[in-house]
Symmetry: C2
Subunit: 244 residues, 2 copies
DNA sequence: CCGATGTCAAGAGCACTGCTCTCCGTTGTT
DNA sequence: AACAACGGAGAGCAGTGCTCTTGACATCGG
């Protein structure tokens, strides 16, 4: 109705959004400096020159601020992984897997505290709201898309074959095992072979383990050239899991 | 000189040790309830009926208390893994690997906060003192002992063969890759084939990834029967890595 | 046996935290 | 132009880690 660029939201709402973004950015800087556990609303308020109580007008609680940072971190990580994959999207599955792994690792090294926020120890009294489950699945979804649809011309039988060759005959998966990861099968497109999903989960688990080990410092006394080691382990894992 | 059970330490030192133990136990209970990040010295003092300032006579800082809990946790996890392995020590390497994995997972499920303390997000301003590196290596040492010495009669050639079959010719490892994990090779007994150590590291990485995923809640919407899934993934990983 | 010495517990206090409530000026809306 | 909603600041509460001072106690030497 008015001349505002966003008709549905008045000028009031616009500056509110801008201030919210400003606070979130300040909080992200704080996060990068002192880590998630030590993130302080008062320190964020100080950085933007605001009273601490005023911050609560924009984020009803410290947890809400953390939730915002968590969602943003999931999104940033997902974006980084997708960008890395896009750059080699026409290459082999093995190369695309490798690119995703390095994309995830590079982002984690550049933003260790954000990585720790989403993949480290959960905050004590903090329950992840449903807003986070979407962005949280971005990298796994990318991996599943990579493994599930490498060939656009419906040669899926080949994939099923190689999967079957790994353990036992084709489709002879223990029903108890099959049921154990039924939830993820439900959120996957139909037609994905269970063993492929299982190997995808294992790949995702390994990627998480390797990156977390490095980010959390458990490889300091173990590996001297983490990049080289990481490249080898993810490539080798892809060979072993026959992801390609 | 006196009738005390511990002659080197006087009565004074003995009650001091007992009180220190009492405080550590109370802190462990607190840890199990509210988690490491929310562990409060005052709450611990309250639980043992002591003034908060008095606690600092025994632990010079909150970090020192946490260090104690970290060391104890590493030790408890190591003990759990060793006990699980001892129970099947005469079995195949594959079964012993499986037992270790379940031992680690079971301990983590029983003590999630202690697990998070040692394998989760590092405490912000906290630098792990050298006291922790010993206990921290207990499970990896157990794994390496399992892989390195399964056959007491010097049939090591067989292991080397199967290892070589995985990637390229025997001993033809890229020198850059070989150098990347030189530190861990240095703390391993001589004669361990580099590729075996590498696969051991990958196994340890995967075990950590799988357990952490479950403990930190990232498998809630993915897996409905975590025990079955875990058993399969670790057994399958052992097959793929040819640990047996 | 008594006094010197060293240890320990308690309390007050500092600077910090998340969060609530009240007060009040500004400002967009009608 | 009048109004009501909004957003800011400040005080205050209950909690935190940590330090310093004070006072009681036990231990040991002479």
């Amino acid at each position: 109705m008015t001349h505002h660029p966003t008709p549905s939201a008045g000028a009031r709402a616009r500056v509110r959004e801008e201030l919210t973004l400003l606070l979130a950015d300040a909080a992200r800087r704080q996060l990068a400096e002192v880590g998630g556990a030590a993130l302080s609303v008062r320190a964020v308020a100080r950085e933007v020159g605001m009273s601490s109580s005023a911050v609560f007008r924009y984020f009803p609680s410290r947890d809400a601020l953390l939730t915002r940072l968590i969602v943003d971190s999931y999104d940033a990580l997902g974006r980084a992984a997708e960008r890395a994959e896009t750059a080699v999207h026409e290459d082999t599955v093995a190369e695309r897997w490798r690119a995703i792994c390095h994309g995830v690792r590079d982002w984690a090294l550049a933003h260790p505290h954000e990585y720790a926020l989403i993949f480290g120890t959960p905050i004590p009294g903090y329950a992840a709201p449903s807003d986070t489950i979407g962005p949280a699945g971005r990298v796994p979804a990318l991996l599943m898309a990579l493994l599930g649809g490498p060939d656009p011309h419906g040669a899926g039988a080949g994939t099923a074959e190689s999967a079957a060759g790994t353990t036992g005959a084709a489709g002879a998966m223990d029903p108890v095992l099959r049921a154990s990861f039924a939830p993820i099968m439900g959120s996957l497109p139909d037609g994905v072979p269970p063993d492929l999903a299982l190997r995808g989960l294992m790949a995702w688990t390994y990627l998480f383990g390797a990156v977390s080990f490095e980010i959390f410092g458990h490889r300091l006394a173990v590996v001297s050239d983490p990049g080289t080691f990481f490249d080898h382990e993810v490539v080798r894992l892809a060979e072993l899991l026959e992801l390609a």
